[in-house]
């Protein structure tokens, strides 16, 4: 993915060549759908959210100041949209994860898939911690990029990540303890 390609395509779109936007969509559809999926854990909704993000990007293309990379601008726009949409209509997976917190999750910790249990536990975090964790791992643990996407200071992101890990450890330990006491009975 080249920043030059993005810049050239944006200039063509702004000059009236709407078809040039398709190159942008094809280049960024994977990252935007995956990012949306990490926010909502629902494939169909992830595609709807990503489509809306592309539409908003198309409308606001002239507002991209070229002092930051196109991808930074696009991710910040998408993250704002995903967060506000999910605040409006919470993802059903988060509600289910919360409801099942005391049931299936601790089974997964000990049996099937600890990774899946951790990912579900992330969905039950308060939004500011959940968003920080989601963006940090989406950007391959790159703090500056994740902070830019969230529009917060790097120090704030680090503090939120630390607190999020603390909450996760406590939740997962609690569920593991529930399982142990269940087995003892």
């Amino acid at each position: 993915m080249s920043a030059e390609d993005d810049r050239a395509d944006v200039e063509r779109v702004l000059a009236g060549d709407i078809d040039a936007f398709e190159s942008i969509v094809r280049r960024w559809q994977g990252p935007l759908v995956n990012l949306a999926y990490r926010f909502c854990r629902d494939r169909a909704r992830a595609e709807d959210l990503a489509q809306e993000a592309f539409l908003r990007a198309f409308r606001a293309l002239a507002q991209w100041r070229k002092d930051s990379s196109f991808s930074t601008w696009l991710f910040a726009l998408a993250v704002n949209l995903y967060r506000s949409e999910l605040r409006r209509i919470p993802p059903w997976t988060a509600l289910r994860a919360e409801a099942q917190a005391g049931r299936n999750l601790y089974d997964e910790i000990e049996t099937a898939d600890r990774g899946e249990a951790i990912r579900r536990a992330v969905m039950t975090l308060p939004p500011k911690y959940r968003d920080s964790v989601t963006l940090f791992y989406f950007h391959e643990m790159d703090v500056p990029t994740a902070a830019r996407s969230l529009g917060i200071a790097e120090g704030t992101l680090k503090a939120r990540l630390s607190r999020a890990r603390e909450i996760l450890r406590r939740k997962l330990a609690h569920w593991a303890n529930l399982l142990t006491s269940k087995e003892a009975r």
């Binding site: 709407i18 078809d19 936007f21 398709e22 969509v25 094809r26 559809q29 994977g30 759908v33 995956n34 999926y37 990490r38 494939r43 992830a46 595609e47 990503a50 489509q51 592309f54 539409l55 198309f58 409308r59 600890r114 990774g115 951790i118 990912r119 992330v122 964790v133 791992y137 391959e140 643990m141 890990r165 996760l168 450890r169 997962l172 330990a173 593991a176």
Partner: protein, 103 residues
């Protein structure tokens, strides 16, 4: 549960691939958006005289109000304020009519 385990679980998340028609569907939406007529802007130029007149009328009324209560001769001033408000209302109505007529 260690930080290492959390890092490993959240970093190694499987990627999902957008459905085959996703890009086409986005481009259809983009083309519809581009083909739609631009929204009609608010006619600020025509509305401005009315808005200014209203602002002036309100300002005059506010200036008159403190004197109107204690002084017995305040009635003409209140009438003056009401007249100013009425004139502003007429100007606003005229601006709205002109706007509706597309002038």
């Amino acid at each position: 549960m260690t930080d290492h385990e959390i890092n490993r679980a959240l970093s190694g998340e499987p990627e999902i691939v957008p459905s085959s028609g996703f890009a086409e569907s986005v481009m259809d939406a983009v083309r519809s958006e581009a083909a739609a007529p631009p929204p009609i802007p608010f006619p600020w130029r025509r509305a401005l005289p009315g808005l200014i007149a209203w602002a002036m009328a309100i300002a005059i009324a506010v200036m008159q109000l403190p004197h109107a209560v204690p002084e017995p001769v305040a009635v003409p001033r209140t009438v003056l304020a009401l007249c100013a408000a009425a004139v502003a209302l007429l100007i606003s109505l005229a601006a709205a009519k002109l706007s509706a007529a597309g002038i």
